[in-house]
Amino acid sequence: MLARAITFALVGLEPRRVEAEAFVQEAVPAFVLVGLVDRACQEAKHRVRTSLKAARLRWPGRVTVNLAPAELKKEGSGFDLPIALALLAASGQVPRERLAEHASCGELALDGRLRRVNGVLGVAEGARRAGLPRIICARDACAEAALAGVEPVGVEHLSEAVAYLCGELEAPVFARGNGQPRSVALDLADVRGQERARRALELAAAGGHNMLLGGPPGIGKTMLARRLPGILPPLGEEAALEVTRIHSVAGLVDPTHPLIERPPFRAPHHSASTAAIVGGGPRLRPGEASLAHRGVLLLDELAEFQRPTLEALRQPLEDGEILVARAAGSARFPAQFRLLGTMNLCPCGARGDPGAQCTCSPQRISSYRARLSRALLDRFDIVVTVPRPRAAELQAAAGEPSKHVRARVAAARRRLSDAPPARTDAADKVLTRAVERLRLSGRGRAKVAAVARTIAALAEAEAVEPAHVAEALTYRAPPELTA
């Protein structure tokens, strides 16, 4: 007897249809699993066998399971449930026709309980595209599966799935809704003083500019950077789904409210490898740059990152996506993030601090700064140097709270996308003069023009005025970084 269960394997983020075909013979009990399966998948044999026993189901004899197409590499434990259901259908313990109307995915525990696996959203999307209305999955994966627009059938135990397919049990009703997110964004009100850096942060949020914060240690560069997500407007429906899909594959979604509605924030440590940042590895996982899609990628201590890692970021910064090609295949991961970097002004860190004397030689400083290539520096529209604030500033009143800033940012973004302001003739003149006097390159000029546009949009101005261009000029990269 032959039977099939349908599931989906994810190649990168892309679901591919996989059929678990089971063939059962009356013979000495045995279990053969074929179809280019990896270690975790091969172990499914043992989990399925003990689960059947725990669910008091009959082991049918000699079982051969093929995961088709055999050319596609199958990874992970999500195939446990389809394998079990296929062999139950092949041995007549669940109706075959009814099983064919469902997709399924989930890992079996030794006692027959069902566990959720990573990437449920992708599998459910595959089911929707294949025209399958329902997906059988673990109960705590229901909220995630429902995001794809299919009806999740949440079960806690293999025997529950069998009862449901046999019509002995109604599909448990699933209540839609995305609960309250756990994490509360950090508030800008905590930052005292630092007017210039705050302003730059607001501009970066409004215009989607990449930003580099420089300054001596301990002045709150990281503190400021961590508050950028809090002033970004929430993600739209489409964007939220994109982000959730990536995080689902990486196993980072919260089962109770899976939809990620706030822009993600990722801050990998500077010891991170290139594969960890841009994605890849033997299993084609999304990297930090993709996890920061539609959000913020903070590279704290930018100059401490390995140079190849930083250079690898140039392509996603340009194209908004990463194509990872490995022996295992190739995958495309979206990576439209805004890059936020922080760095000291010199290796010893004393530069920019009036209370300390820098002991770095000019050679050391230039080799420190040379760790960032010009090409990478060119991607930063806004470069701000923040010197150490004086004690008086630290006693200043609490800053403006994030929600006020967020409202301005959202308004400016709408203005920029609906009708971006154009430069007046007077503003053009200022820009031309600045190019001559401050020796701006062509790209430098374009960056100043873009930032000036954001400034005008934030100021609710009809056009880009000379004052907007002038302010934008102060965010250009200092010549010692670009020379």
Partner: protein, 271 residues
């Protein structure tokens, strides 16, 4: 590229104790540029933002008064003096301690190009001679020798810039030193020069006066922000009560007009 033999050297340089046998020249300007009234602006390579600011300011103001600014193309004060002179559309001469065809330090290759486009680069070494430590003091005697006066902007206790000043004193030329904080090791050399009797330099006009040149009349910049400098942008926001955006726009305006410069987040007045 040209080469001056000993008898073709400018008068001032020929007059020193051991003038170079040859002087190689590179650049668009004629050799007669070396005959013009010149001052040397020299100082530490690892200078402070203060030293860089003063070097740039002297380069600019002396060049705009018509003097030729001579220096050694080194990092720090030397480079700033050349840059200042170029920014004022003035004339400047860089004297190298290596072959005339080499750009040393490499970081100043573009500065060397900019100088060669309008002014002169000079060296007593034939093309291909590598830069070596013992050549720099020798180079310094040419820097001092070409000039009526030598200005030391910032120098540690045993600095190459002091060697230049020694050469200038030996030849009986004027030596100026820029006073610095007594606690700063970068000013130890210049303050020692002052103690030995060098003329303290408080503005570019001090040099012009000593050389008998009428200082050009400059309109004093009156922008209110200039009174508050040096300061960071945040300090200006605090002091003036205007927004970060307005302050930044005003500072950029001043920067484009060449009145302020920013280094490591600190804004300084250039005038």
């Amino acid at each position: 590229m040209r080469c001056l033999r000993r008898h073709q050297l400018p008068q001032l340089l020929r007059a020193i104790h051991d003038p170079p046998r040859r002087l190689y020249l590179r650049g668009e300007a004629g050799a007669d540029l070396l005959e013009e009234k010149a001052v040397a602006v020299v100082g530490a390579r690892a200078c402070s933002p203060y030293g860089a600011q003063v070097g740039r300011m002297l380069g600019r103001e002396l060049a705009s008064a018509g003097l030729v600014v001579v220096s050694g193309l080194a990092r720090g004060v030397d480079g700033e003096a050349h840059r200042g002179a170029l920014a004022a559309d003035g004339r400047t001469v860089a004297v190298l301690g290596c072959g005339i065809d080499r750009d040393y330090p490499a970081a100043h290759a573009w500065l060397a190009r900019a100088i060669a486009e309008r002014c002169l680069i000079a060296s007593e070494y034939e093309p291909g001679v590598p830069p070596e430590p013992f050549r720099f003091p020798a180079r310094n005697r040419i820097v001092a020798g070409l000039c009526l006066a030598t200005i030391v902007v910032e120098a540690r206790a045993r600095s190459g810039a002091l060697i230049t000043a020694d050469f200038a004193l030996e030849e009986g030329r004027e030596v100026f030193a820029v006073p610095g904080e007594i606690t700063s090791s970068l000013s130890a050399g210049t303050n020692a020069l002052l103690r030995l009797g060098a003329t303290p330099l408080t503005s570019a006009d001090d040099v012009l006066e000593a050389l008998g040149i009428e200082p050009p009349v400059r309109e004093a910049p009156t922008h209110p922000l200039l009174q508050l400098l040096p300061a960071t942008a945040d300090e200006l926001v605090q002091a003036t009560g205007s927004s970060a955006a307005e302050t930044a726009a005003a500072l950029a305006e001043l920067e484009v007009n060449g009145l302020v410069a920013e280094a490591d987040g600190m804004y300084r007045a250039l005038a």
